[in-house]
């Protein structure tokens, strides 16, 4: 058993020493070829990242594109099949569209609601309330809870004998409904994930937005007051524009994170007929069905989806994001 730990420790030390040696070596080689001291040191310092970029990002990136054009079960060598994986996905795979639908709906509902909730909370906390530090700690707590624990907790909250049903029981009584088991209900699985997701992230986003709000110079509000602006005018014409770059950051990171929801689904048995998250589906295809080629093709669809969303947000940002540095130009 000890060998498990020593094996990795050996790998770890060897790689660490190798990287430091490569950095020193690169510096020496560059200097010998007459490269200036500053440039040589600069390249040597960023070498660990650059090596990692080539080995862990660029290489796998290219490899995964090639794999997406093959059939590969990891035991036999990959067999080139052209675009068949992509054709199969869009025409033959009955699980594909439910998965896409589930993933997109989750993000499309979760991200705007989460942003609005965070903006509202941050605005409230910015109203000179007492004990901001304490409130901030409380609101941030769910973001500190490991995703695994969050998932188990909400699975229990949403169980048919759980707290959520208890809180909603007056409504059930009114309409004569049975208490549902949320996650295992085909129609309620997605809303359950959305609610759990909101609980998990809105606190972290609140803290970021609150820091953004505290950064807005007071004199802007004073100037607006002098101009006779009311509370709402000030919020729309001063706060929102000044906060827009922070909102933009939160929006982008929330979209990317929500599209890649993964861990939670492994702790919850939700109704599979409702679909599942794209990353979970890719994992199933790759490591349970060992269809590595097909899974790689699905991965590229995921890249396309993320790209489309981020480009849309970037494109639109010209219209609504205000950067202070730009006003001179």
């Amino acid at each position: 058993m000890l060998s498990w730990y020593t094996l990795t420790l050996t790998d770890y030390v060897v790689v660490g020493v190798a990287i430091i040696a490569l950095m020193v070596g690169l510096n020496k080689v560059l200097r010998r070829f007459g490269v200036g001291r500053e440039v040589a040191t600069g390249y040597s310092l960023i070498l660990p990242w650059f090596l990692g970029f080539v080995i862990w990002n660029l290489g796998p990136f290219v490899a995964s594109f090639y794999l997406s054009l093959t059939e590969y079960n990891i035991l036999q060598p990959p067999e080139f099949i052209g675009l068949d994986n992509y054709v199969e996905m869009f025409t033959g795979d009955r699980n594909f569209w439910p998965v896409i639908r589930f993933t997109l709906l989750y993000s499309v509902i979760n991200v705007p609601l989460g942003l609005l909730a965070a903006l509202l909370t941050a605005t409230l906390l910015n109203q000179d309330v007492r004990g901001v530090g304490m409130w901030r700690t409380i609101y941030y707590l769910p973001a500190v809870l490991p995703a695994a624990a969050t998932a188990l907790l909400w699975r229990w909250m949403f169980a048919s004998n759980g707290l959520i049903n208890f809180f909603l029981s007056p409504i059930y009584n009114l309409f004569n409904l049975d208490r549902p088991s949320w996650f295992t209900d085909v129609d309620l699985a997605l809303p359950s994930y959305v609610i759990m997701g909101l609980w998990g992230v809105f606190g972290a986003n609140t803290v970021i937005l609150l820091a953004g709000l505290k950064n807005i110079p007071r004199d802007l509000y004073d100037a607006a007051t002098v101009d006779g602006a009311g509370r709402i005018r000030k919020y729309l014409n001063v706060t929102i524009p000044m906060l827009s770059s922070t909102l933009f950051y939160v929006l982008i990171t929330s979209i990317i994170a929500s599209l890649q929801t993964f861990t939670q689904a492994f702790f919850i048995d939700h109704a599979r007929r409702a679909g599942t998250f794209m990353n979970v589906y890719i994992y199933n295809q790759a490591f349970e069905q060992t269809k590595m080629g097909y899974a790689s093709a699905l991965g590229w669809v995921m890249v396309a989806i993320i790209l489309v969303f981020t480009l849309l947000v970037f494109r639109s940002s010209a219209a609504w994001v205000y950067y202070e540095g730009e006003k001179a130009g």
Binding site: W49, W156, I256, T263
Partner: protein, 301 residues
């Protein structure tokens, strides 16, 4: 300013009324704000309370409906029983082992790379930095399969190496970004003085720069701890032997085996609490650094 001077005298009799109105407005806003903040805090805290309360319940009182808020009797032994149901001592050791190794290498290399990007001018610096930032948007699942194949070729499936060795390659681009922001804010004169004193690059970095960015290092430390402690995807894919599992994977195995008949939520909540405990403890001790790490990228960027 002129308009203000003109407006004041004409409406001087109105000022008290306007001021009174304003005070009333302020009061209404304050009351509404506190009410909403309290509701929000309840939404956050009730599930936490429920987790703790459930973790102390006996199996018979678990599914009672309507639910009981306070466990009666309080069963502390749930924790011991759940912990002993699987080799959780071993899981804890594995989690700590992987977390410590990955954290050290990750913070060390991220700070070196950030220092290079912040302080040295070299061709293609900005292009390379944008490349670094763009890797943040690359979905991890895409590169996962080729990485898995690589580790398999290296004979490192079912070992801790995939979760730790990669950390030497500054694998957290956001950490590099965050540290670079901090290095940029330090005046250059400090290093220039050291260069005149004959210090070499490593001495400057290690003895002068690192102590100056200590808050940022701590901020990254907590982020990195959180990230590695909670890392689920890596162990899920690379580890097959139960005794090699970290806490998260142990928890998943545990939850699955408890769900076969009636789910034993009291044990699950007990283990969730224990899994979260180190991070919650760290959060209460080093809260400042959590918030620093979270906000620096958004506000200064």
């Amino acid at each position: 300013m002129v308009t203000l001077e003109q407006a004041r005298p004409a409406s001087s009799t109105l000022v008290p009324r306007v001021a009174g109105q304003r005070r009333l407005d302020d009061t209404i806003v304050k009351v509404a704000a506190y009410t909403l903040i309290l509701i929000g805090a309840a939404i956050v805290l009730v599930p936490f309370f429920w987790m703790l309360s459930t973790s102390l319940k006996s199996a018979e009182r678990l599914f009672i409906y309507p639910p009981e808020w306070f466990p009666n009797p309080v069963r502390w032994s749930n924790y011991r029983e759940a912990w002993n149901a699987l080799p959780f001592n071993r899981f804890l050791l594995n989690s700590m082992y992987m977390t410590v190794l990955a954290m050290l290498a990750e913070i060390f290399t991220a700070s070196i790379v950030a220092y290079g990007f912040a302080r040295y001018r070299f061709p293609f610096r900005n292009t390379l930095f944008i490349l670094l930032l763009s890797t943040m948007m690359l979905p991890g699942i895409l590169t996962l399969i080729p990485k898995f194949i690589m580790w398999r070729e290296l004979g490192r499936i079912d070992t801790f190496s995939p979760m730790t060795v990669g950390a030497w390659f500054a694998w957290g681009p956001s950490y590099v970004f965050l540290l670079r922001q901090f290095f940029l804010s330090i005046p250059r004169e400090i290093e220039e003085a050291a260069v005149l004193d004959g210090a070499n690059t490593f001495q400057i970095y290690w003895q002068i720069m690192l102590p100056l960015v200590k808050p940022a290092l701590l901020a990254i430390g907590v982020l990195s701890f959180q990230g590695n402690w909670n890392n689920f995807e890596g162990p899920l894919i690379y580890l097959n032997t139960l005794e090699k599992y970290p806490m998260v994977l142990g928890l998943q195995f545990f939850a699955e085996s408890l769900s076969r008949e009636a789910p034993k939520f009291h044990y699950m909540m007990a283990m969730s609490t224990l899994m979260a405990a180190p991070i919650l403890a760290l959060f209460f001790v080093a809260q400042r650094y959590f918030i620093e790490g979270l906000t620096v990228g958004s506000v200064k960027g």
